[in-house]
Amino acid sequence: MTGFDVDCFGLTHVGRVRGNNEDQFLVATLEKQMRIEHSSIELEPLSGGTLGGRARLLMVADGVGGRAGGELASRVAVRGLSEYAAQAAGCFQRFDVSQEADFLSGLEQGIHRTHDLLIESYGPQAPATTLTMAVLAWPRTYIIHVGDSRAYRLRGRTRAFQRVTRDQTLGEYMIDAGAWSESQAARAQTSGALASAIGGSELRPTVNVVDLEPGDALVLCTDGLTKHLGDEEIGQIVGAAISAESACRLLVDRALQAGGSDNVTVIVARTAPAID
């Protein structure tokens, strides 16, 4: 077990209602690797004991419906952030605090620059998009998030399926600010409006770190999935699937069976279980 045996797959579908697909996704490998063939010294200190010099880059983006060019915004965001991630690919070789902070700052700057690009090009009514991005540099995973797409972690050891990100919607913000109760938020028609989006009127990227264990899985998805499937059902499907591809296909099929009211996009990344 190298710790980097990750089975990744991504899938998108226009759904059963919308005429075009404004979602985008990306599954990529970032490589900057020193291959040690022979050495008189132990390998652990050289490699940091953790990283193989490769990382997986995963992104989902959901162009905001109802605004012109949602498809364009999600494409600009995925393309722009993939370039920033590639530039920063050498920064996560070790658990070095300053390098780690610089790496995260670089990705956040990338989000802000993409946002500025959209605003400068299209003005205050610029097309907008959500973005949930994970950089998996085993075992550490950095998750950068804007909007109401989501990242989940399935802990293989306990089967606990938990949401890592929090939806950046008006309802969630009003609850956090103590202005609305959860029942008030559930009743409010504007509750689901995005309170933060790339190209939107507000942009507040959040950063999470999750250290994975063998047998864990990550799920990134747009709200076309979570409008129709609850967290528990998503976790059960991912936990029971035989592969990342199988999990993605089952999740998208299930969302379509439930109505497919929106574009639906899913990425699943499964780490290999530990070998006893």
Partner: protein, 171 residues
């Protein structure tokens, strides 16, 4: 600019996330949402007129099924242990967590935030507990994420200590 990594450490439900939210965003929510992994926030503070960026690593709390992951603590310049003043077990576990955290992060400056001071009727910690903490080289501070009491003081003391050591922070 100087950057300092500060980790929030404690049992689940002690108010680690609420303290960060109060300090960084000046908001407080009664809704409990457990943290998965780490949520990172940052805030620039002034230490002797010098800007210092605090990278606040809000670690998921310890519960019966999992302990704090030492990997999150590596490279920390300061630690804030958070205790719920209405749950004595969270103080008892803070002693265990200090052993774990110091093994991972080394002997870095730390504060122990005795949180939820606003729930005075349910408070179970006594002055003897505070004396014991002080005698065992803790730096205890009473805090309330709800009212903001002691929050600036806790983060401010630690920011100074990470730059110049505990002696500087006490001056």
């Amino acid at each position: 600019m100087i950057q300092k990594k500060v980790c929030m450490v404690g049992v689940y439900g002690t108010g680690k996330t609420c303290l960060v939210q109060r300090f960084v965003h000046s908001i407080f929510s009664t809704r409990y949402q457990s943290t998965v992994g780490v949520k990172i926030d940052r805030k620039v503070v002034l230490v002797d007129d010098e800007p210092v960026t605090l990278l606040l690593w809000d670690l998921e709390g310890r519960d019966h099924s999992h302990d704090i992951a030492p990997s999150y603590l590596r490279g920390a310049h300061g630690l804030i242990y958070v205790v719920d003043g209405t749950r004595r077990d969270t103080l008892d576990q803070a002693f265990e967590l200090r052993d774990l955290a110091e093994r991972a992060a080394g002997p870095v400056p730390s504060v122990i935030a005795l949180n939820k001071m606003d729930l005075r009727d349910d408070w179970v910690l006594e002055s003897g507990d505070i004396d014991r903490l002080a005698s065992e080289s803790w730096h205890p501070l009473r805090t309330s994420a709800k009212t903001g009491e002691g929050v600036e003081a806790a983060f401010g003391w630690l920011a100074r200590a990470t730059v110049g050591g505990a002696d500087k922070a006490d001056t």
